[in-house]
């Protein structure tokens, strides 16, 4: 244990440069040299990464490595945190999302987010899903809204379970159902990218399997960025994997390559379970 910590701290700055191919053809989101600071403390250290269309990209790494912070930069959820500062470029379809003139409201409609803990609104199931379309004015009639709600719940694989009790509170569902409700709520706004911050960490294995199956289906229409602590989940779900370590993006690559043949020693140590 002692020797391992020593080993890690001896890794110099040169060894922390990202290994692997960070760019993709025709990316949805293009991040260039992104730094994030919480006050004086640097949480993310110059990350450059592309997020492609219709792919699931998994972000793995030990706790506190900055993967969630990076995820939250992609739809500016960090704005609400006092003292959080982001530098570098993050472009969504060529548009700088940190541009001062850019409005975060439409950005978040384009880049939805699902959180670690299911957090449905304390309202009915219907209202949970209908809220987004309603505030964005996506539908003009009640029947259109009904349709959006039904479609979103179907896509989230929840429709059959809740269609008879749409007026019951969303907080009364089980944990896995709540998380799928949150996904339905995100889908209802019609985003292009869905960010998922450890979406299954509060769920039991059966609910996890359902959500994973759902994520796999959603890939057809959306770009999905998923942060996870479970390497099996990353291996099952994602096409590409990014490994973060203490604020650095260490290695990016095709998932099967990362898990079978990692090129960086830190990545190898992590996925073989020597730390993390």
């Amino acid at each position: 244990m002692q020797t391992l910590i020593k080993q890690q701290s001896t890794i110099g700055a040169a060894d922390r440069r990202t290994v692997g191919r960070v760019t993709v053809e025709n990316p949805r989101i293009r991040c260039r040299n992104v730094h994030v600071y919480y006050g004086e403390k640097r949480a993310i250290n110059g990350v450059t990464l592309d997020i492609g269309r219709n792919e699931v990209i998994a972000m793995i790494g030990p706790s506190g490595c900055g993967k969630s912070t990076f995820l939250r930069c992609l739809n500016r959820m960090n704005d609400a945190i006092d003292g959080c500062r982001v530098t570098g470029d993050i472009l969504l379809d060529g548009q700088d999302i940190y541009d001062k003139r850019l409005d975060v409201v439409p950005l978040r409609a384009q880049v939805g987010i699902v959180f670690q803990k299911p957090n449905p609104f304390p309202k009915s199931i219907y209202e949970n899903v209908a809220y987004g379309p309603r505030i964005h004015g996506l539908t003009s009639t009640r029947s259109e809204l009904d349709e959006v709600v039904e479609l979103s719940l179907q896509k989230a694989g929840l429709w059959d379970e809740v269609k008879d009790r749409l007026n019951q509170p969303g907080t009364g569902l089980s944990g896995g159902q709540q998380q799928r409700l949150c996904i339905a709520r995100t889908i209802a706004v019609g985003p292009e990218v869905i960010l998922m911050d450890e979406p299954c960490s509060a769920l039991d294995p059966i609910a996890t399997a359902r959500v994973e199956a759902l994520i796999d289906e959603l890939r057809e229409h959306y770009s999905i960025v998923i942060v996870t602590h479970s390497m099996q989940q990353a291996a099952r779900l994602s096409q590409r994997t990014a490994y973060f370590h203490l604020g650095d993006l260490i290695e990016v690559g095709m998932t099967n390559q990362i898990f079978t043949n990692p090129r960086h020693r830190l990545t190898e140590d992590y996925i073989t379970g020597r730390f993390g």
């Binding site: 609400a80 978040r108 987010i113 957090n119 449905p120 609104f121 304390p122 309202k123 509170p169 995100t186």
Partner: protein, 433 residues
């Protein structure tokens, strides 16, 4: 023992067991102290309530004397015109006096007669006038009517005047007591429910004094306080908690709101006197000014409790709303506020209860005046319940002692009702999720 750091398996159990008894004893001692504290506070509370109730319950009954009143036409309406002006100016007390003379024809001396007349309250004449004014057909008829007795009679009947004391030290002389005993034998004395207490304003005569004026004054004052302090307080809390940037200026404001909550209420009274009455020229003694002063006093409470309620809303709800693209305003008004509302309402009602019981600032703005009329609006001179209690507690008449306690009971009833409403509201709103 010399090897205290030995934590090999099996070596610790002995030491753990040795300490166990002491640990449990400590816990038991703490529990007993807690129970003791609760018992002591309950004891004092019972003491307070029993003293107030035992002093005050008798005020809800008032001794009345039944008299045969002959509404003599020659006294009330000599020319038969039924002119309301004349009717109201007529000498009704002579009717009461006539009736008393009818019962006690043997009392002839002027001095004694005056004592006899004093058995019945001076309010009896007003009651007769009211009866005649509302029904002039009474003129010429005779009726048996229950009229309020004087407060000294009331006290004697209720047993607060000791009959065994030497005559010179007692407010009722022997011959007066003899008259009363005769009236009692004839069934002309009865303790009846004291409606006057709930329907009249203040009076110098205890048997005619009531709390209705003070209650209405308090109601108007609190209406103004609620209408101003709740919206202002909630808006300030929402801005400070959800929108304001965190910097030195907002820190300064926050510290000062907390300071204001600790300012003695009489200082707010002085402020109200200087600002609302002397500078803006608003009238004295009116509920409007009282309400403004109490608004200043309750604002810090409402702001602090509302902020606490907003803070207690889980951040995950905010994130959820922001995450699907709600603006900050929508996040606050659609999701945060509904969750925080029960807490805010509770805070507001507690602030209102505090305002209801507040006396000192009202003294400063003149709501301590002796006001007989029932206030009909925000700009009528008025007093408030706690001030009325203060005024009565200061009065020398024995009958005001029980009325003071009775008024305290009414005030406490209002306070408990308000707290109950706070609890019910919180329960009702919480049930929605």
């Amino acid at each position: 023992m010399n090897n205290r750091t030995d934590i090999r398996p099996g070596s610790t159990m002995e030491r753990v067991n040795a300490n166990l008894a002491r640990r449990y004893a400590k816990e038991r001692r703490f529990r007993r102290m807690g129970m003791g504290a609760i018992i002591i506070s309950l004891l004092f509370l019972t003491l307070l309530f029993s003293s107030i109730i035992s002093n005050g319950y008798s005020a809800f009954w008032q001794t009345s004397i039944q008299l045969e009143i002959h509404f003599k036409a020659e006294t009330l309406d000599p020319d038969g015109s039924r002119d309301p002006g004349l009717l109201s100016a007529a000498d009704y007390s002579s009717l009461v006096k006539g009736a008393l003379r009818g019962i006690f024809p043997e009392v002839k001396k002027r001095k004694e007669r005056r004592k006899l007349y004093a058995l019945v309250s001076s309010g009896a004449a007003f009651r007769l006038r009211k009866m005649v004014m509302s029904n002039p057909d009474l003129i010429g008829s005779t009726a048996r009517i229950w009229l309020p007795a004087d407060d000294d009679v009331d006290m004697l009947v209720k047993g607060y005047i000791d009959r065994d004391k030497p005559e010179a030290e007692r407010r009722m002389k022997d011959f007066q007591i003899a008259w009363l005993e005769r009236l009692q034998r004839e069934g002309r004395i009865e303790k009846r429910f004291n409606t006057t207490f709930f329907t009249a304003g203040d009076s110098r005569e205890p048997e005619l004094a009531g709390i209705y004026g003070a209650v209405m004054g308090s109601v108007f004052t609190l209406l103004i306080t609620l209408a101003l302090s709740f919206p202002i307080g909630v808006a300030a809390a929402i801005y400070l908690e959800e929108f304001a940037p965190v910097n030195r200026f907002t820190d300064f404001i926050e510290v000062n709101i907390n300071n204001l909550a600790a300012v003695p209420s009489i200082v707010f009274g002085l402020l109200g006197l200087a600002v609302f009455i002397n500078f803006f020229g608003l009238p004295r003694s009116v509920p409007l000014v009282g309400g403004l002063v109490l608004t200043l006093m309750t604002l810090p409470t409402i702001i602090i409790t509302s902020r606490a309620a907003l803070k207690s809303v889980p951040p995950s709800i905010r994130e959820a709303a922001l995450g699907i693209g709600a603006s900050r305003m929508q996040t606050v008004f659609h999701h945060v506020l509904p969750q925080a509302l029960p807490g805010m309402l509770t805070g507001a009602i507690i602030g209102m209860a505090q305002a209801l019981g507040e006396t000192a600032p009202l003294l400063m703005i003149g709501m301590v005046a002796f006001i007989v009329d029932i206030p009909a609006g925000m700009m009528d001179p008025a007093t408030a319940l706690p001030v009325q209690i203060y005024l009565w507690a200061d009065s020398p008449e024995r009958a005001f002692v029980e009325r003071t306690s009775a008024a305290i009971m009414v005030l406490l009833t209002f306070l408990m009702a308000m707290n109950a409403v706070a609890v019910i509201l919180r329960k009702r709103f919480e049930k929605r999720w």
